[in-house]
Amino acid sequence: MFKNRLAYKLLVVFLVFALAVIAPLSLILYYDSVSMIQDIERVAFLLPEQKAIHDGFETQVIDTFVSLVFYIFILSFIASLFLSRRFLMPVRELYRGAKAIEEGVLDMRLDVKSDDELGAVTKAFNDMAAGLKEKTNALMRKDIYVNSMLDPLWVVDMDNIITDINPAFTRLLGYTIDEVIGASIFDFLDEENEKVMRTQLSKRDEGISSSYGISIISKNEGLIPVLISGAPVVENGEVVAKIGIIKDFRAEVALRDALKEEKDHSEAIMDSLVDVLVVINRDMRIIKANRAAIATAGEDITGRFCHEIFHKLPESCFIRGMDCPVKVVFETGRSYKTVHEHVEAGNVKVFHEITAFPVKSSGSEIINVVELIRDITEKKSFEDEIAQRNKELVTLNSISRMLSHSLRAEDIFNNVLEKVIDMLRMDGGGIYFLDEAGRELICRYQKGASEDFMRGVARVRVGEDIPGRVAVTGQSIVSPDILKDERVEKSILRHSGIRGLAAIPVKGKEKLMGVFYIFSFSPRIFTPEDERILDSVGEMAGMAFENIRLYEKMRELYEHQRKRRAAEQQNLLMFASLLSDTLDINTVLDSAVSAIKDTSKADFVWLLQADETGNLLLSSASQEAGAKGGMVYSRDTSSIERYSMEKRKPIVFSELVTESRFYLSEYLSGYNTACSIPVYVGNKTLGAFTLYFRGFTILPEEDIFFLQTAGNILAVSMERARLYEEVIIEKGMADAILQSIADGIMTVDTDGRVVSMNRAAKAMTGLPYALDEPVGRPCCDIFGYSPENTELRWALGECLEEAVLKRVSAREAELFTAGGRKLPIEINSAPVTDKEGKVAGVVYVLRDKSREKEMDTMKTEFVRAVSHEFRTPLSAIVGMAEMLMDGEVGRDRQREYLNTILLEGRRLSDMVSELLDVARIESGKEVFRESEIDFKAVLEDIREAFNPVILKKEMKFSTRLEEEIKGYKGDKDKIKQMLMNLVDNSLTYSDGGCAVEVNVGRHGDAVRIQVRDEGWGIPDEDMGHLGEKFYRGRHGLSTKGTGLGLSLCREIAKMHGGDLHIESAAGEGTTVTVEIPLRRKE
């Protein structure tokens, strides 16, 4: 049975009706029948039998009546029920529908049971339910967005009472929805933040959206820093509520603080670098500079042009044809190294080696260039000096040769003069000799001046004019411009066109022999170096040795520098690639655009971002719309996006074709409706995203509101990514630079604990604690590994004390490394300050000085050894020449004297040649003169050369060619030179009467040359030093030599692709074996 209450009501009505109608009717009938029978009884006499029938009739009538009435009643009830069915069915359907809606089921449709009014009502109900379902779905979808948003959200009414929050709000701040709803927004803010909130909320009342940073009091965690994007909720053009999207900024704030601190720390370290470091942007402006840079260029360096600072030029240096490293890096994207001549304060010219490398954004675009500038003026001047000295060396060598081949003083001086003029690039010169009486200077030779003039100055009296004065005083006169020189105002040279002049006395050991002068026709500044050269021409041979040695050292130094530079370069490149590895915002934006397209049912969505000049670039698009990052609209193009960005509010055009004032991109044809939403944070407009529809679509207000919220979220994400990138780039840059610096860098906090240590510092010490995570360890413990480091620890401690007083300091100390090596180091220290400017620690820059020290010692040793070796033969030349010239030597002795001078001159010349040979072979410049070598002839030559010595010392000398060697090709002179050296060594370092043998034979595919002696042998302490140039062992104390012989032999062996081995035992003799392959590898 149906449970329709309506049916019960109907039944009750029927029953009431039945009682009201049938009961009275039955009673009336009954009483009428009874009265009618009584009337009959009264009129007629009735038999008793009739009487009984009468009485029964009464009952019968009543029974019949009641049954009949009841029957009619039942019958009519059934009939009425049947008749009302058609009316009840639609009602029941409606009831079912109502019940379903009550239960929340909207997905049903009622049957239309009749075509009367009830049918129409049912149809209306169906439509209503469908409408309701659609509306509810739409609402639910938005609710899901809001609830599933990761970022918290709150909504307040016009009285600033919170009316809604989402689950993320509870997650972030801890309050449940019941605790929040109905509370005032200001209950969650402290006094300071309340003020900010009030200003922001009053903007909402005026319908303005904005983003701002604030801190909210959470339930359990105190104040939480957040970024809120607030917007008004507008209904019918009127603000009815305010909504705020809250972004948790704890991590960002913490990270930014941490990064800031790290950055400050790194900057302090960079500041303590000796090298200048600047960051330069595309406009060639310096945007960042370390302390060294500020020290060189002044406080106002940042913001100024780099060429203005370093070249004092109003325009870029590349305009002047220089290779501008900044330009090169921007163009090629690769790091670049060059040397520039820069102008420092006070117009001092310096040479700078510049290493420039790019700083890239996440989009691999070069945004800045970092320049690391190192002052190499000293190195450059060394190089120049080498060039000059090289020339000098060659000159000196030829002078030395001349000494050994000519004894005519004039020849010597003439040649010397010529060389000097050439060397110093003068225009001419001359030479005066003092006459016998010592009264007059006679010019014997001149170059560069006119004959007429020379006739005028051919003779000068001693004491007169410049040459005469030089002769008297024995002091040089050097004048950059004689026309302006008061000392020489009377000189006749002043009328000759001569400007620059140097007049130098030519001295024997004590006696003056003449004066030589050189001049130029233009003013010429004689550097101290020039003067030194001029002064030392007399003693030039000694100098020559030093020069070669210096050249050698410089070459080593240069090689060392080059390697170090290469390593630095490598590290810098690595760092550059690190930078591009930042947070990838592009993926985030792509998914955001496709999400917006899906939820809004738009046909096309894109996001355009404004660059710093205002051009709109494509950031992301739901389908092909040109290259990402490419320009869509230039800054002057009027577009929908720009319009919405300028208005800072959503713009909707439902008939695009009629909007002729906007330019549309080629990708936008076929769309009729557009809705553009600006994306901005605070006062900064980042761009806009636009939805395009093919149809003529009307966007509901709440959809636009939703898009606007999406825009706010997007803006925050984009801005956050940018902030991250900025800070990370800066930190990464500082970090990479530190690691790539060749000096050791170590930072220590005020408690003396290590905060950081770069690679070079770790490598330099090699101490176990330094290599195994030094951070956090007391600095003393690290160096305390070696007990000898006490002095160093003192020095570091003193630097720390200085740093606490905010002072920089420099110390020198010795570092004992793990390997037991002693390194002289230079310590430079500077305080590291925190954000508040309080000293947080100290940064040490440790520089290994061992190379410099070593070089210093070697140089001194060399000068000592060489000058000694040169002085002896020079004694013969100088002393004997003097005696000859003074006419003190008898005719019988003259020849012997000249012979000695010649011999000693050759010895000098040989020594210089030997030095030059070593230098030349080592530098790879020696020409290899290949010819077939006849070893038999070579051995004979050697025997012949040493015959006098062999006879004198009564040596048992033997040579043996073990096997005929045919077709071996090598440099004959060099092989011979090598053998001569080895044999000479054996003969020198053996007692008289000992055996010396030279064997030449084959050993596999090689020629083996052995020189064996039974001499003094090499003491153990000297074995390790063999082959070191200029090293002279214990026996060297009592013998003559340059310490170059073995080096030269080894170089010659190497030149032939072979090598040299020495076996020796003190007191027993030495065997030197040279093996050179028969066929040289090309």
Binding site: K509, R864, R871, T872, A876, V878, M883, T1039
Partner: protein, 125 residues
């Protein structure tokens, strides 16, 4: 006539100095080896000794030390005629009691002047 002993392992130095001093009327004894220098000096009792520093076996400075240690010979003035030109070498020589330190290359004339001066001073003493 004054007598000067010169000890040097370079024959030409001996020749040169001998010639120069002889011309000035000085008697010269030359010695190429330093091994038995002290004995020779004792025998010859010269007025002045000219010594080379760098010699095989016994160095000039060692000879000088031995002489200065011998009370009979300590008073004889010694000239060091050497190629060792460093300042500290000279200092070392002077510490050992060398009268004059002359570096090579040298002017024979100047050497003679010094010799005459030293001998003259001695003679007047």
């Amino acid at each position: 006539m004054s007598k000067v002993i010169i000890i040097d392992d370079e024959p030409f130095i001996l020749m040169m100095v001998e010639d120069k001093l002889k011309r000035a009327g000085i008697k010269v004894v030359t010695l190429r080896e330093s091994v038995n220098a002290v004995d020779v000096i004792r025998k010859e009792s010269p007025d002045l000794i000219i010594l080379d520093w760098m010699m095989p076996e016994v160095s000039g400075i060692e000879v000088c030390r031995r002489l200065k240690a011998d009370p009979d010979l300590a008073a004889i003035p010694i000239f060091m005629l050497t190629a060792k030109g460093q300042e500290e070498d000279e200092k070392q020589g002077l510490i050992c009691g060398v009268e004059r330190y002359i570096t090579k290359p040298f002017s024979p004339k100047v050497l003679l002047d010094h010799v005459l001066e030293t001998l003259g001073r001695q003679g007047s003493r």
